[in-house]
Symmetry: C2
Amino acid sequence: MGLTSKSSQTPQPGRRSMCQPWEVVKTPVCVLGLGLIGGSVMRAAAAAGREVFGYNRSSDPVQAARSDGFDATAELEQALSRAAATEALIVLAVPMPALASMLRQVGDRAPQCPLTDVVSVKAAVLAEVSRAGLLAQFVGGHPMAGTAHSGWTAGSGRLFVDAPWVVSVDDHVDPKVWIEVMNLALDCGAVVVPARSDEHDAAVAAISHLPHMLAEALAVIADDVPLALPLAAGSFRDGTRVAATKPDLVRAMCEANSAHLVTALGETLQLLGDARDRLAASGSVAELVEAGYAARGRYDNLSRPDILSTVVGADGWREELATAGRSGGVIRSALPTRDSRG
Amino acid sequence: MGLTSKSSQTPQPGRRSMCQPWEVVKTPVCVLGLGLIGGSVMRAAAAAGREVFGYNRSSDPVQAARSDGFDATAELEQALSRAAATEALIVLAVPMPALASMLRQVGDRAPQCPLTDVVSVKAAVLAEVSRAGLLAQFVGGHPMAGTAHSGWTAGSGRLFVDAPWVVSVDDHVDPKVWIEVMNLALDCGAVVVPARSDEHDAAVAAISHLPHMLAEALAVIADDVPLALPLAAGSFRDGTRVAATKPDLVRAMCEANSAHLVTALGETLQLLGDARDRLAASGSVAELVEAGYAARGRYDNLSRPDILSTVVGADGWREELATAGRSGGVIRSALPTRDSRG
């Protein structure tokens, strides 16, 4: 593994100084895929003082990145050889269908590099990484940021500022790789949410994939009622905003997380079916409305305590972080590691 | 009925000049209820040069309206006597539970005045108006505008600018009252959508009340999944925005429209049930996603043709307007009437 600890006198900007001072060289970053998310990682990592280089299969984003002053190539071999030589952190930022072939090339050219991804659904990515034999150096990631637009030009070095960035704490993860991925997310301005991959996938089914299904259904139903679209205003517009997302993108996320989405849809059917039956029988929607109002209130008042004391690599660190993340805890500055405790 | 046509030399600001010039005196407006909507009607009507006066049961909004320079009272008898004397258009802007007693007083003190309302669900209002014996001079209305806030201080004379304002074209409506209500909506800057009350209620079930149910359900489901609220971002925030509305307000709208909402919920259950079954069986959400995307596209590209030629009061005018409204047609400047055709 290309993760030998190195000494450096460079101060760590944006990191809280620890009781035990510690320093880590800023690992170079190799971004594979220069779309909205990959392109934004490239910009943010460069702004944080990282050496960063990237690859994209089609040449337009490569040209655009170059003319913005970034180091980009359409030659995958070249990018991966450099990653291997510099022991770079490789960031997989390609769409799900391109992942398997990309991972084969990583396995051929840069099998020792620490590896992360910024693709949404984690179980599907984990399965591909495992199939490629790269699980030992992989820690999954998911920055919860995006815009309605896509591609290099839509990206921004500020896209991740204050956004939650999930970093996986599955049983297999290596503490040194984990620290690398955490440091990249913090360098990008994000707050790190440690989470198990399966819990991440269940959560995004509820907060991202289910909202897409509800938006699609609302649009279809209103479209069938005479006079509805001409009268539609704020509630409909907000409720269907994500139905304007290109179908291919919606299908890619939702279908990659089908088991969890089937569960979330089943719960929705139960809840709305009960509400319909009660409204028909008693004329009241009190139960659903009061529960929804209370739940939305808990979201608005969510506390986000800092995770400060977990020592990455110490006994039980993964479960400790998963528990903290589940209760809303976030990492805003680098955690101590066993090495850094002196 | 206090609707005798009067001559006036005052030009009509904001009205298209017709082939046959015509003039209508600006009828005074009596607003009953000075909350967000009533208070905004008062401001907008005054800004359009109308004589406008209002009533509110509690005195704080009355004091606030007065210190903003408006003519307001907490004495209902006084407001209604003045409405009767000036043949004012009375605008019912009280919450649904206050409507029946308000209508009894209107029937006692100002039974000849033209009457409209700005309360959401039309069938429930029609039933109360009918019970009070005031149907002949009543034309229902519903401005599709609002904010997250309520009360006099949240109002604005610009609230209705470019907003659809439904004016009912039910079988019973009198053309002279209809013209009065249309003119008020146009004076407030709204675009008038002519619609039958039953079609209005079915439409708002789909575009307003169903979105509330979906938002409540989404909030409840995500709240039950560990890690979901800490990761929630744009899709969840937009999808649950209206779940932050006070439960009493949501219940008042939804429960007053229960039959149509039961239907809309039934269609939702069917659509989401099919999507769940297909996803479980074949791993695909293509059908729902493509239909939703197409429907949202139709909303984004809705054409809003001007209704220009219907002569209010001519044979079949109500059905002609209902048909035009159903296809997205709107009234942006006063329609001709039989009287105005010379």
